[in-house]
């Protein structure tokens, strides 16, 4: 693990830089921290950052570039004739890498001398057996070009790593020295360090954007492919979802509308269960419950969020469905055909979502300053009036966030829908009918047995993309509403 050691060395340089920088800064102020612009620690951090950031940057770049360079050089050594029919340069290179790694291991195990490993004239049959004896997994016989390439590969890599190590360490030292030079009393170390932290914060926030870009990129090509095979208008406006198993071609109806309707319907039912229960639970926990009860009940309810969804799915299928059937089924009110329905899935999903609403809201309600409550009690309000009219409005932005989170989860849930709501896509108003959601269909089409180049399989990507864009639109709308609402308060 030479890289591991390299990282340790750089960190050590940074640590030393931290101490020295701190000390130097203090010294430049005559040993009195009051003469410094910033706290001594910031000078230390400044030095440490200057040692670490460029050095690690170089390390990362080097680690990305060197393999490319080495593979390129080495693969140039392999004549085209050495690539077996049907194989590829990439595979031969994998073989090269494996041989090189095998030799590394054999050398470190003492079964092969370094000289032997480097010796370009080594007999390759011998190398193969030796490696096999050393317990290395060697596939077939190592061929001459592969052995040569592996040797070159080892040499290039080890010199590369050597140069890299030196360069990284030098850079770290230089950075530290530069940082040290700056460590004077007047230097605005805190601002510099804070700029650095801020850059980190921005980088963290940007990961969300990168993820989005990644998702779009990983969906978009297949989506385009799908629309090449299937007319977009039928996808977006088709009222029927009936993929036929592919291979017979052309007969599938892939209209998204029933799926969207199912998604919407099931999510609404789930939220109708989760939001009132969750909100009331949060209110009770934060305002009424004795600390003992709260300490127990809150984590327990949070467990609901951690039960694997397959359990909920089975719960829906085996317990809730039959229960609903008894009441609403043929023997009861006669509204329900079978145990799987929007209601079943929605109810069970709602249970799963309770902690999303309750725990977060509880924390936020708890953070409303007591002075707000006092103001209301002082006017003769009851506790519930206070909660409803003062505390909840004050906590509203956070609660809205919690509910949005729950809604998002409802849209993204699969297992409960598959087992609880059935697999049938239907446009119906009756909540006791089986329906299904976009997400469930994404999963089933993606994990199905259909031809992967057929519209029936590719539709999963188009569904994912559409859902993504729709929820994006909903979120823009929600943001707009929240903004507008927030202006009234605060």
């Amino acid at each position: 693990m030479p890289i591991f050691w390299l990282i340790l060395i750089v960190l050590a340089i940074a640590a030393a830089g931290f101490l020295v920088g701190r000390h130097r800064a203090l010294q430049s102020a005559g040993g009195d921290s009051r003469g410094l612009h910033s706290l001594p620690g910031y000078y230390g951090w400044n030095v440490a950052l200057k040692a670490i950031v460029p050095a690690f940057g170089l390390l990362v770049v080097w680690l990305l570039v060197q393999p490319l360079y080495v593979s390129n050089t080495v693969s140039n050594m392999i004549p085209d004739s050495a690539i077996p029919e049907g194989s590829s340069m990439g595979l031969v290179m994998a073989e090269v890498r494996r041989t090189a790694a095998g030799m590394d291991n054999a050398v470190s195990a003492g079964l092969m001398t370094e000289d032997f490993a480097r010796n370009a004239r080594a007999d390759f049959a011998d190398v193969t057996t030796r490696l096999q004896e050393a317990g290395q997994i060697v596939t077939s016989r190592i061929t001459q070009p592969v052995l040569r390439a592996a040797q070159e590969y080892r040499v290039l890599n080890s010199t590369g790593y050597l140069i890299m190590s030196i360069a990284v360490i030098v850079l770290a030292v230089l950075g530290a020295l530069y940082g040290l030079r700056e460590s004077r009393a007047a230097f605005r170390a805190r601002n510099v360090v804070e700029q650095g932290v801020r850059a980190l914060l921005i980088a963290a926030a940007s990961i969300a954007v990168l993820t989005t870009v990644g998702i779009v990129l990983s969906l978009v090509f297949n989506t385009i492919e799908f629309f090449r095979l299937y007319p977009a208008s039928e996808f977006f406006f088709g009222l029927n979802w009936a993929p036929s198993f592919s291979g017979r071609g052309g007969a599938s109806d892939l209209g998204i509308v029933p799926l969207l309707w199912g998604t919407f319907y099931i999510s609404i039912v789930a939220l109708l269960v989760a939001v009132p229960i969750g909100l009331f639970a949060a209110i009770y926990l934060s305002e009424y419950a004795r600390p003992g009860l709260r300490a127990v009940a809150k984590p327990l309810i949070e467990v609901l969020a951690g039960i694997p969804t397959i359990v909920y799915g089975l719960f829906a299928l085996l317990t809730v469905g039959p229960l609903l059937m008894e009441v609403f089924g043929d023997e009861g009110l006669g509204w329900m055909q079978s145990g799987t329905s929007v209601m079943t899935a929605g109810l069970v999903m709602g249970i799963m979502l309770i902690p999303f609403v309750s725990s977060l809201s509880d924390d936020i309600i708890n953070a409303v300053p007591q002075a707000m409550r006092d103001g209301s009690y002082g006017l003769g309000a009851t506790q519930s009036e206070t909660i409803r009219q003062v505390v909840l409005p004050a906590a509203l932005p956070g609660i809205v966030g919690a509910i949005l989170l729950a809604a998002s989860r409802a849209i993204g849930e699969t297992m409960i829908v598959v087992l609880g709501a059935g697999a049938a896509a239907r446009l119906d108003l009756n909540p006791f009918e089986a329906m299904t959601t976009v997400t469930a269909k994404i999963v089933s089409q993606l994990t199905g047995d259909a031809d992967f180049a057929s519209p029936e399989a590719l539709v999963a990507f188009a569904l994912g993309m559409t859902l993504f864009i729709l929820t994006l639109g909903l979120n823009v709308f929600a943001l707009y509403i929240v903004r507008k609402y927030r202006e009234q308060y605060e």
Binding site: Q370, A371, M372, R373, D374, G375, S376, Y377, G378, L379, G380, A381, T382, E385, Q389, V390, P393, A394, Q488, Y489, E490
Partner: protein, 257 residues
């Protein structure tokens, strides 16, 4: 200053308040009269706010606070378990030391109390109550154009008057005011003092103040607290001109502002 045959509104006996281990109020006995302004004075941290908060059971909301003793309002013990603190607080209103407007509009801040007590039959009546209360709180002119702006966006003194107006809006029988004029300029202070004087005609008012002049101006009775003890209680005139206890005297004479 006034004759003494007033009814007793609050009769407090052997009152003790503890914050955890700190004994904040010690053996306080005091009788607060109806239709009278009673001033609580005393050095900072002596327990004035604490005692005031006992009178409408606001200390219930502080976990560590423990209250002992008898607090009789019109002959009924307000700490009795049959007593509904909500009803009590509707009767005994409070203005807090730190202004605490709700994060709502100015209008809703005032309308909140009347709404929950059902004091207005319709919107017009409510508007009327709001305007009247804001006028009584001497803040109407400053906010009449922005009744729907948030109450938290007001200046310190405006917030304080907003809170006074809010307390008055529910027409309590007893009004407890914890330093209601601390952030007010003299003119506004004068207006609030006028309000207090007006309230006295029907109600009982208890006011905590650090201004001896204010106490002298508005109150008929004065209580002097020191380190959790009620040192002296009596006619305001007598307390200021002829205190019995040496501690009272030294506090009064040490007067500067």
């Amino acid at each position: 200053m006034k004759v003494d045959q007033k009814e007793i509104k609050f009769d407090c006996r052997d009152c003790q308040v503890y914050y955890g281990d700190t004994h904040a109020i010690k053996d306080v006995n005091v009788q607060i009269e109806d239709k009278t302004v009673t001033a609580f004075i005393g050095p900072s941290g002596c327990g004035k706010s604490t005692f005031l908060r006992c009178l409408n059971r606001m200390n219930d909301t502080i976990d560590v606070a423990r209250v002992e003793g008898d607090f009789m309002l019109d002959g009924e013990d307000i700490y009795d378990k049959n007593v509904d603190p909500v009803q009590l607080r509707a009767k005994v209103g409070m203005v807090f030391q730190k202004p605490n407007p709700f994060p709502k509009s100015i209008y809703d801040n005032i309308a909140y109390g009347p709404r929950i007590h059902g004091l207005a039959k319709n919107k017009a009546e409510l508007d009327e109550i709001v305007e009247k209360s804001l006028r009584r709180g001497a803040i109407w002119d400053e906010v009449k154009d922005r009744l729907h702006a948030p109450g938290t966006g007001l200046s310190g003194g405006q917030q304080q008057r907003l809170c006074i107006a809010r307390a008055v809006a529910t027409e309590p029988e007893v009004l407890l005011m914890d330093e209601p004029c601390s952030a007010l300029d003299p003119i506004a202070t004068g207006q609030v003092e006028e309000l207090i004087d007006e309230l006295r005609e029907n109600y009982s008012v208890v006011i905590v103040t650090h201004s001896m002049q204010q106490a002298a101006r508005v109150s008929q009775k004065t209580a002097f607290f020191h380190l959790g003890n009620l040192v002296e209680y009596g006619e305001t005139g007598q307390i200021f001109t002829n205190p019995v206890d040496p501690r009272t005297e030294s506090y009064i004479t040490g007067r500067i502002g």
